[in-house]
Symmetry: C2
């Protein structure tokens, strides 16, 4: 290029250079290292290299772009436009040639490392850098005088046309390679797998000619109770389907420790649970691919996050050691495994990636939360709480991150609650109790009306009012505490003590009547004092884990709180704080991150660099083992009180009045909250 | 170390250095880079580090070794000596400490890279450098305060104690790792797999404590007709068992082209043949491990060599393309695959290595012959002929190597010969015909007597005289030619023409009576003119391949000839030359290499560097495709004559008289040898 050649300026990168007249824009972009996508390598087939030229005066760039700055619209572009339609003003970068000074905008969707925008304002976007990518290549035909294998000529084409050196192929690809090359008349599209920079690139799929379809990846959050998966387009990162199923291991035990016990007490029990979870996984993959109407074999990558016990059971490692101190993991590193070695029925050559575990009780799910919420990049001190059957808790900032897990049990998911249920239409999810009348009104999932509003009965006729889900029970208990129906130690008052007949003697303690649907054949929904105990223990476990990390960090307050987990998006910060689930903090500093573990899995799926990043990060996270920390027990006892027996919660108390009631009449019903249970799951 | 420290001189390496008093010999060896083995890492368990100190004056090394040069025999050595016996004069290198100047001899068996001595004088030794090695390690116990996985602590121990960094483990190892570590009380022996320097080391087996057993590898020569395997000790390279079976694919076709046809004409035919050969392989592995009395799961590595069609059928690639020009291979590179992906029932984490193919008709077996016979390292011009159902031919020297294959057919293995049989007891393998009486005498396999010697009948009573094997038929035809029973164009003479009643009319041509066993209920063994035709075509194919390479090399003679292949060790150079199988050369320059392909497989098995070497070498071998060389046809026609219609064979003629007979009486029985058949297998 010489000084008299036309100047090409790319936006948004700002990269610029002079190129001889006739240079295709794609060529110019490649030479300058501008991120402009192409699957067909500039053959006018894939349309991935679309760009938008700008015309007129650009003082900022010091150029004036004439109407004739690019070559005329050509037949390839015309054919493409006719067939698929090209957005007005767009050109194909491989066809449009430089004729004069020009400013070229690369729209986001034409970038290889395009950004997947996350909806939450504070969340960082995901940069596309998947482990499997597609390339169109033209392969040399065999020559008897220069004998070489078809695969070797394919690898040569990848090197010459795509700069991908030393590609090998999976045995399965070799089985079909020869007929496919001939069917495509030596033009094929290949899917190349490369997990990391040093890894040998591997061809895992070959299609004859130019493959116009998509390829997919799975981000799987393997929880104790549910298995949830996002099916993502590996080209643009879009979530094309999300689905979940119950973990079939539930039949071996609701929480993790009961599954560990099952494996200890039943020879072959671990193997049985491994088979169950893998079968469940395949059922989920069937379901999600049917939902997205794709062939399962187009799923070419998968990332898994899970807690340590699920991790081991999924891999076929007996979780025995995780059931006892020192809680030694079989392996804590990230893993690249072949889908078929885990009996997973997706693309036969797909590999799967499992995020690293942080410690014996702090798993790959916590690592995924750390990847998604990035406490290690936070300027202020953030507490991230991933609420599930087991809670993963991270506390830190750019200087230091601490982590622990705490056995909350399944109460927050509506289990072990007398009227509890999973979040589904008909479940009570929002609650208000009138401080004067002590009457309750609520909303159920699937209906926007409050239960005392006109039309509620009609609107909920189809679903009925079936129970209370996790977020509903949190609001319910907090409202009971706020309205003096419940005292700090966790006793429901009598009708006399509370002034409402909704409180009634139910065995040796009192219960609170929420909804009597028996006249219509529906359930009677109450909150029993045993339900309160379950919630007390769950929230005490959660709080004391967080408090322990604060002790270790040497702080008494945190700057902000991120609630993650299955119901993280639905939780009411105020009610959570009234319960004393989380430390005292300004309400506007308590935000929800939704399923952060699943998001972390998705980030790792779409960006292999993020895998390297989290592998580094977990080494820097300091793990706290709650089981051996003497103060955990003390925190737990204090946190059994609602909100807390010793913590002052000044911010909370500045916005709500907590009635100073005590219903303990000297009987034996109180104090159970102080009993310590070790329960994981 | 200071100038006053004792001097330690190691032989045979000559490495020397000064070490403080008290330094163990093993430590000194490691610091100097002396090749001294150890599996237990100096803990006095494995006894691999045995050395022999020398005492007295060593002017050559400039040292005098006092009797007190090493520390006294200690309790570890005494215990070992009592338990297993230490050769007199030997010490354990990890126990004996430097006390004064000393000369230490490292015996061959104590070297890591010990030499496996090959019996043939001209063959180079094999240096041990296997892909799987054993290491004893002491692993840190888990610590809740510094959580890490058991595997990660094992990897750390490998790095700290053996300098093996970044080891991972196969999923199968993870399944059993935790109980094994605890059973071994955190002391384990691991088998680590590493094919090449850059590859991540992988733990494929863990034993509790110090594992005293051996581990094994297989070198497999997968031929069209037979599958042969050597089972080798991966520590010392010793062949502990050798075994072979018929290739079960024979039922789909005797030669390769008929198998290719079978796959073309039968849907699923290729898959059927793939299953058959893999089943056969597993049967062979059962057989060989039973013979060696070892558990199959101790076979942790395997190397395969085979021709291209077998290569593809073994891998599950349809050999369709190999049946037609341009004979494109699916892949020509070497392959590292997992045994289980090929349904091979050895150690579950074993990988297998397949040598690279040279071209569409010149396979991994030819590469193995090149590795074993190393024509690329030869100063003189060597012709290497690997005789099988398909002949692999290499011609070259340190400057250049050419290769081709030639479809000899199975005649040299005794097939398609009327009285032919495979080499087995009772088969005629040596032949002499009296030039005057035209009477024949012979030896059979299993008996050292000639058939006209006393006691022959008794000695062969058990086996009988059952047929003629490959080397026998070569000698037979050559002797018939030498004694004027057979003419140059390949016609057997009449009784009148030859002067012996052993020649008799047999249909339209004459046959030669070798042995009439019918009186004892045995077979009548004759050589028919059709048998002669088969041998003519086989040897013409062989010779014309060799001659074509000579043309391409621009030479009319070679310095030496190496005969390899199943019967390479048994062939008579003189008779082979009378037949005109090989070019004219001094008889003492014609040597036998035995099963060179199998040897090449063994070299690659025992030395991973040799794998890299042959991968490089095959790129430098120039391949000649006989099918498209016009001169091949011409050479073939000339070579149909015995020994040859045009080549002078001056050296041969200086040692034997070839009767100038011609039995063609103008009939139509001659000249068939000129008909060209394309036959591979």
């Amino acid at each position: 290029m010489s000084e008299t050649d036309p100047l090409v300026v790319f936006t948004p990168s700002g990269k610029r250079g002079r190129f001889p007249v006739g240079t295709p824009i794609l060529t110019a972009a490649r030479q300058l290292g501008v991120d402009l996508d192409s699957v067909c390598g500039g053959r006018g087939i894939c349309s991935k290299c679309q760009i938008t030229p700008s015309y007129g005066e650009f003082p900022k760039h010091g150029v004036t772009v004439a109407d004739s700055a690019l070559s005329e619209w050509n037949s390839v572009e015309a054919r493409y436009d006719e067939k698929r339609g090209l957005i007005s003003g767009r050109r194909l970068g491989c066809q449009a040639q430089v004729m004069g000074d020009v400013v070229i905008d690369v729209p986001p969707e034409s970038q290889v490392h395009k950004q997947v925008v996350r909806k939450r304002a504070e969340a960082r976007d995901i940069v596309m850098n998947p482990s499997v990518r597609m390339y169109y290549v033209e392969v040399e035909q065999p020559d008897m005088h220069e004998p070489s294998g078809d695969l070797e000529r394919l690898a040569k084409a990848l090197e010459e046309q795509w700069d991908i050196a030393g590609a090998t192929a999976d045995l399965g690809v070799l089985h079909g390679l020869q007929p496919i090359l001939r069917k495509g008349e030596w033009k094929v599209t290949v899917a190349v797998q490369q997990h990391s920079e040093g890894q040998t690139p591997k061809v895992i799929q070959v299609w004859p000619g130019f493959y116009e379809g998509k390829i997919f990846g799975l981000a799987v959050d393997l929880g104790s109770t549910t298995i949830a998966a996002h099916l993502c387009d590996l080209t643009d990162g879009e979530v094309v389907a999300s689905s979940g199923i119950m973990n079939p291991q539930i039949r071996f035990g609701e929480d993790l420790m009961s599954r560990v016990s099952y494996s200890m007490m039943n020879s072959g029990g671990a193997a049985e649970m491994t088979a169950a979870v893998r079968e469940g996984m395949n059922a989920l993959f069937d379901q999600i691919s049917q939902e997205a109407e794709i062939d399962k074999t187009l799923i070419m990558d998968a990332v898994f996050v899970c807690n340590p016990v699920m991790h081991h059971l999924f891999l076929g490692i007996d979780p025995f050691e995780l059931g006892q101190a020192p809680f030694a993991l079989g392996t804590s590193s990230s893993l690249n495994l072949r889908a078929r070695d885990l009996d997973l029925d997706i693309h036969p050559n797909a590999d799967i990636y499992i995020l690293p575990c942080i410690a014996g009780h702090v798993g790959a799910d916590a690592a995924a939360v750390a990847l998604s919420e990035a406490p290690d990049k936070s300027k202020d001190l953030v507490l991230v709480v991933d609420v599930g059957t087991n809670a993963e808790i991270l506390l830190g900032n750019a200087e230091k991150v601490l982590a622990c897990s705490s056995p909350t049990g399944p109460a927050f998911e509506g289990a072990q609650i007398s009227s509890g249920q999973r979040a589904a239409p008909g479940a009570i999810e929002r609650v208000e109790i009138d401080p004067t009348t002590k009457d309750v009104r609520f909303k159920v999932i699937g209906c926007d009306l409050w239960s005392d509003e006109d039309g509620f009965a009609e609107a909920t006729e189809a679903t009925g009012i079936t129970g209370i889900c996790g977020s509903g029970i949190i609001e319910m208990v907090a409202e009971m505490r706020l309205t003096g129906i419940l005292d700090g130690p966790g006793l429901i008052g009598s009708p006399e003590q509370t002034g409402t007949s909704r409180c009634f003697l139910d065995g040796r303690t009192y219960s609170y009547m929420v909804w009597d649907g028996s006249a219509e054949g529906g359930p009677v929904i109450t909150v029993t004092n045993r339900d309160i105990r379950e919630i007390q223990m769950a929230k005490a476990a959660l709080y004391s884990g967080a408090r322990l990390l604060m002790d270790k960090f040497g702080v008494d307050e945190v700057d902000r709180v991120v609630l993650a987990g299955a119901f993280g998006a639905h939780i009411s910060p105020k009610h959570a704080m009234v319960l004393g689930m989380i430390p005292d903090a300004p309400l506007d500093k308590v935000t929800s991150a939704g399923n952060a573990a699943g998001t972390g899995a998705r980030i790792a799926l779409l960006n292999t660099s993020a895998r390297r990043e989290i592998e580094q990060t977990v080494h820097q996270i300091h793990k706290i083992e709650t089981a051996i920390e003497p103060r955990f027990q003390e925190h737990f006892v204090n946190a059994s009180n609602i909100p807390n027996a010793v913590e002052p919660f000044p911010i909370l108390k500045s916005i709500v009045d907590l009635p100073d009631v005590n219903f303990n009449t000297g009987g034996d019903t109180g104090g159970e909250g102080g009993r310590r249970r070790r329960r994981r799951g």
